[in-house]
Amino acid sequence: MKLDSQRLKKDFPILQQQVNDEPLIYLDNAATTQKPAAVLDALQMYYETSNANVHRGVHTLAERATNQYEAVREKVRQFIHANETAEVIFTRGTTTSLNWIARSYGEANVFEGDEIVLTYMEHHSNWIPWQQLAKKTGAILRFIPLLESGELDLKAAEELIGGKTKIVAVSHCSNVLGVINPITELAEMAHQAGAVVVVDGAQAVPHMPVDVQELAADFYTFSGHKMLGPTGIGILYGKRHLLEQMEPVEFGGEMIELVEEEDSTWKELPWKFEAGTPNIAGVIGLGAAIDYLSTIGMEKVHIMEQELIAYLWPQLEKIDGVTMYGPTDPAVRTGVVSFNLEGIHPHDVATAMDMEGVAVRAGNHCAQPLMRRLNLQSTVRASFYLYNTTEDVDKFVAAIQAVKEFFQYGTL
């Protein structure tokens, strides 16, 4: 069952380099992941053999490009267990997907006095679209609080989600705390209240099996670049009956059926949402990334990350002055580890670690409201993925020790 991360690492050309004269240890996977040669080759191959615009040519290349593009839609459907490909819409990424849901579904279904329920751990991209929707419509935002452990307070959620709730928007996994949220339970609460649940799956789909039907998600969104694919491609999944009642957010070529001078009609799902020439190469690259992940198996990817965290956690706990955030129970956490070193600013830690070849993130991780709740300005974040090895963990821990000493004694 155990994965050979060392072997997988060889599939990633970018990871074979030195940074600041040290072997690169890339631990910023929650921001974006690196791409295996298979994905890079797929992009190159597409442009060398099949490049054409999709859905609008009768020539051979156009058909080839269209077939490849639509084949990825089917791959995505299988990957997240959607009911049909009509429910899988290509977007620029999670942010675009969430904005479209807020703009289209939100503006048509949320009115003054209605309530939108979020959690305090949401990324800005699953916060601001709802905040702006509330400002525009006069709806009220409500927030599910967090327990001491970093998990959602489900009792409070049950009280918050009620007759006035129209939308429950929640991340599947936190990009700061690494906690996995109980989507199925939240969906049940939302559905009992007659609301829909919108899931930000950006930190989940790359790391574990996701079944949108089992989760009972009404909308589910994620990004290609956080799962070994290219930037600029993402997914908006929605249940057919919801997508059907929604108006497109963007208008233009590709998405229309009939255009008259004063009015137009839209194509059927999913194309009515895909205006203009889409990111065809991005879609092809995403397909190659899904193939790569599927060959390994998402259950294995998840177990491997949990094992890596189980290996890391006690070592971090032993270092004096390290504070970790988020749940300690490995069953409800991903490979995202936020922490602080006492007396040393996260930016100083990140710069120092970079000198050791270790790439980590420092800052508020696009979650300013969460930082305020935790009484923090910022944290250091190390986020692991399938190509990170126990040796990476060892070097990461050694780097923390070295950084601590550097700032304690002013020199080495």
Partner: protein
């Protein structure tokens, strides 16, 4: 060890300023104040100034920041107190060029802040170094407008 390169950035004087900053706190008789946020990290600085007779008579800074931004704020207050507004503005421009690795004609005038030249090799940290200087620059501009 690669951490030795850090000495270029975190010189002892810089660490000293950060750990024991000068002019941290608040001014009771301030004439001008400003708050500036570094959106990339959420760091925030507040400056309180007493500007009288066209001169920066006193400054205090407060807020949250990293070693570089705290040290830089401390060094900035050292060099600015007593300067005319025009001189102070001139210094902010010189410092901005210094941390971008450009030639600065009068490095001495920047005092201890001249030691922040190592920041030029760490482009991601330039904003940390310039936060307090940009805040001052904005405060000076606003103070100028008030008088006109």
């Amino acid at each position: 060890m690669a951490l030795s390169k850090l000495d270029q950035l975190y010189r002892q004087v810089i660490l000293d300023h950060s750990q024991h900053p000068h002019h941290e706190g608040t001014l009771e008789d301030s004439t001008d104040q400003i708050e500036l946020i570094n959106p990339s990290c959420g760091d925030v600085i507040q400056l309180q100034l007493r500007i009288e007779e066209d001169r920066v008579q006193d400054i205090r800074f407060s807020g949250h920041g990293c070693t570089i931004s705290r040290a830089s704020a401390s060094m900035m207050t050292d060099v600015m107190i007593g300067k005319t507004k025009a001189e102070a503005f001139e210094l902010t421009q010189g410092f901005s060029e210094l941390v971008q690795g450009k030639e600065v004609s009068d490095v001495e005038a920047l005092g201890d802040a001249a030691l922040l030249n190592g920041v030029a090799k760490f482009p991601a940290r330039i904003k940390c170094a310039t936060l307090s200087w940009k805040a001052l620059e904005k405060a000076l501009a606003a103070a100028g407008q008030d008088e006109n």
